[in-house]
Symmetry: C2
Subunit: 219 residues, 2 copies
DNA sequence: ACTATTTTTTAGACAAGCCTAAATTTATTT
DNA sequence: AAATAAATTTAGGCTTGTCTAAAAAATAGT
């Protein structure tokens, strides 16, 4: 397995939710910042290797084998992100690019030992779940902040928008995945959420646009 | 900079001691397990980029720029080896291949933080010195075990032969870089060294062939 | 249902990094 | 100093992963 193929499989996995009956060529091209013709070429090769199912002019889905590889790459990416934030004290908004490189290091023993070293974390610094060695996620009932009931005690699990701009916006608000809070009030007019952070007197205001990108779990 | 170029520069650096007036094409080809014609191709490109000095049919030397990059790759390789051994508890004979991959991760901030996290180690698990961020090594007066004076208290700094076979041989002998010892006696006939390990009653016998590959410093 | 548009694929080309085989230069013998 | 051997380079080709432009298929609009 090589880096390029791994990135294609990871891309397909990332888009598979939005395209349940097959990822389109254009969507994958956009996701990987490449041209549709390159996608077609590579998918043909991955199909021959049995990693994806792709028929001409139809969407593409991962095979069991391809999905397994994709999940291992995701696992590595997220474990390395935990390492970078927890051990090397990077900001959680600075680790994506480095993890994009580290996720391609080949050594199952390394991944196992890294996970052990980190205490087998189940979520990365952005709140995304880390698949275990077999590819299984911890399932959780999640809800966007914009849909949380008032007065409910919640945990900020993660973010929907992973852009640096959004992560830095959260940083300014003092919000970080893992933060506990209570939704005090939601404004009728514009959906702004007034939130009480756990372990702090401060109340903060969160716009609907922002609230729509915050993934929460009830406590 | 890409991985291939980094490996060429690292190879040139590794061979530069043995070829002070220019690394030969064949030597580099052997070192990188590739063909001489491939070396010629690549050296032409590296020369154009100003990373090496290479004239037709003459040996090759690193430029200042090329040497700087090579030293940073060496730094990364050795820091990652320390990480793998100290933090993830790999055996010191198991880390080379993984470090060969990790050394190509691009991020100076990562290297700085990794070095900090590890306590700015000056030697890797094989006893090889780790260049600092500016490319400077800690200079030491070293001597091979086969040339150590008897009764002198010494520290095993590192190994000359880095092959897995040799590392595993040392493991069997119970020898590891950092080990303190005293050379009790050297046999007249075959140069076998009788050594007393510090913190142990045991005396071990080390053949001349092995002793020739053990780098030591006086205490 | 039949164009018009969008999506996808094909065809042909290119750079990187490698190879083999042949040619050239340098080094070693005699 | 010429002949031979060794080292190095050149020439031409292959694979991977990308691209642009053109062709083909699927979808949408009237």
């Amino acid at each position: 397995m090589n880096q390029t193929a791994e990135n294609y499989l990871k891309g397909l996995h990332a888009l598979s939710e939005r395209f349940p009956k097959g990822v389109t060529t254009n969507a994958l091209a956009e996701h990987l910042s490449t041209k549709a013709s390159s996608i077609t070429d590579m998918l043909k090769k991955l199909h021959e290797k049995g990693l994806v199912k792709h028929e001409k002019y139809q969407g593409t889905v991962l095979s069991a084998k391809g999905k397994k590889i994709a999940l291992q790459v995701v696992r590595k990416h997220r474990l390395w992100e935990v390492f970078l934030v927890e051990k090397l004290h990077f900001g959680w908004d600075q680790v994506h690019e480095i993890a994009e490189q580290l996720e391609h290091i080949q050594s199952t023993e390394l991944v196992d030992r890294l996970s052990e070293f980190l205490g087998h974390p189940r979520f990365d610094p952005h709140g995304d779940p880390i698949p275990d060695a077999k590819g299984n996620f911890l399932e959780e009932k999640v809800v966007l902040l914009s849909a949380v009931n008032t007065h409910q005690k919640m945990l900020l699990r993660g973010v929907k928008d992973h852009s640096t701009a959004f992560l830095q916006h959260l940083k300014k608000l003092g919000l970080v995945p893992g933060q506990k809070f209570q939704l005090l009030h939601r404004m009728e007019y514009d959906g702004t959420c007034e939130v009480q952070l756990h372990g702090s007197k401060e109340k903060i205001q969160i716009s609907q646009l922002t609230a729509d990108n915050l993934i929460c779990v009830a406590l």
